[in-house]
Amino acid sequence: MNDLTDLGVKAIRDGVAAGTFSAREVAEAFNAAVAAASQLNAFIVTTPEHALAAADRVDAARAAGQPLGKMAGVPIGMKDLFATHGVQTTAASHILEGFKPQYESTVSQNLWNAGAGMLGKLNMDQFAMGSSNETSHFGNVISPWRRADGGNADLTPGGSSGGSAAVVSGRIAPAATGTDTGGSIRQPAALTGIAGIKPTYGRCSRWGVVAFASSLDQAGSMARDVTDCAIMLEAMAGFDPKDATSLDLPVPDWSTSLSPDMRGKRVGIPREYRVEGMDPVIDALWQQGVAWVKDAGAEVVEISLPHTSYALAAYYIIAPAEASSNLARYDGVRYGLRELPDGAGLQDMYAATRAAGFGDEVKRRILIGTYVLSAGFYDAYYNQAQKVRALIAHDFERAWGECDVILTPTAPNAAFALGEKLADPLAMYLNDVFTVPASLAGLPAMSVPAGLDASGLPLGLQVIGKPFDEQGVLDACLAIEHRAGFAARPEKWW
């Protein structure tokens, strides 16, 4: 076995269970890949000992003839938004630098209970605010992908789960956790040629996940194919009484029920997603996706989601509003950074701590949120945005009368060069145009690799499903995956 790092979740788990290789061999191979990939800056801290200890437990359990978990022997990357006991958790911010949680997030604990181990904490956009991984206090994550034009421009892996996307596409981890507030799993997955699913809001517990916008935040899995995402999501999901919005529903066996047969299924194509000035390459990919789902037996129907064009504006009121409230907890008193200028009182300490601890994008969103929630503006901005959000959710509800899943592009463009969009915050926000509506409606949605652009960079298609119908989303993505035959991978230069 030379290239254990070429294996995905299912292949590793099944190989460990069959005794083809040991979990320790797998952990050692990925620990080595992590150590060799520091140029990508994908990890904030690495935890090789955690991966080895988990692997040893799996090998011992197998030797003792005990049953093995769904993720037994699979070492993964953990986005630095998940609290991990005794391991620094920063949300890629300065204000939480050095913070070592005294507890484990429910999602990460579920993964360890299923036999997974941790390779390290993954870099990301600061507090998950960003679409290019350029807002991290710990520096940009560099995508393993490069343009085929011979240039060596450093590209974005997307964001906010940029570290997750970089390590999975670079064969540095077989899978990684992500979180998605407006597209933070799906957009980086698309930009790096991997699969990523955001389940229905409430499937994965938010307990122990650093909060950004609580009505939108949802954890999910990122891996190289649909099956691996399904297996990992099964391990992550489940009811948690510690999260008031957790869904009290059994977790289906998505991975064993997977079927690429779409006969009898209706796939909706929303006409409002054909935005003005759409890149012809993205449009062509979308048409190819339509042909693929037809080939899988689906009936394709045009649908209308009339309030789509207002989704981004509503999102950029609601998410900053919730963020301004959630991030009020960083006060320099209970955890994280404290800045105490000479002679400063309590209020000065708060202001100095938050000035030093938050990056520009985080400050921008806290200020927007504070403004739209302030006296006199609440109705015009926040309440109106929540009404528009209700209309967007209603658009989807009506669409489900005509179709079972919805097919769209994931992102309006392929990966861009680092620095290219940073000067204009608004242009960066537009990268989430296709992913935000499903977030506002709490729907399961997934990106699946579908092709390459003229520069050899990956592009993804998005499937959106009904509430609780992760199975329908995964099945449609599997049908696309079978037909796309996406085998491209970044050439190792790091």
């Binding site: 005294q102 510690k242 994280g336 400063a344 200020l367 927007i368 528009v388």
Partner: protein
């Protein structure tokens, strides 16, 4: 331009974020641009629409009325609670003097 420098300074003060003059000069046009862009929501007819309060219908639960039913979220964890405090003293969070 929907908000001026003075308004940004006021919001920053409400949000307890100290800002230099340079930062205020930089942020004011950026925030204005974003707020001008979200103004488009005013076009949407929302008469009779209830603002969304829960994205997925869910009932609110009560925890069992038992002290420390879950030790992770119960009491008696003072040291763990203080473990990351920048200035814990005598079993409390330390802060600068509040009362003159």
């Amino acid at each position: 331009m929907s908000i001026d420098r003075a308004t940004v300074a006021k919001i920053a003060s409400l949000a307890r974020i100290r800002m230099s003059d340079d930062e205020l000069d930089r942020m004011a046009p950026e925030l204005s641009q974003i707020l001008d862009w979200v103004e488009q929501l005013g076009e949407v007819d929302t008469a009779g629409v209830e603002p969304m309060t829960a994205v997925i219908p869910n009932h609110l639960r009560l925890r069992e009325d038992i002290i420390n039913a879950n030790p992770l979220t119960g009491g008696g964890r003072r040291d763990a609670v203080l473990a990351n405090a920048p200035a814990a003293e005598h079993g409390f969070f330390g802060v600068p003097k509040v009362i003159e």
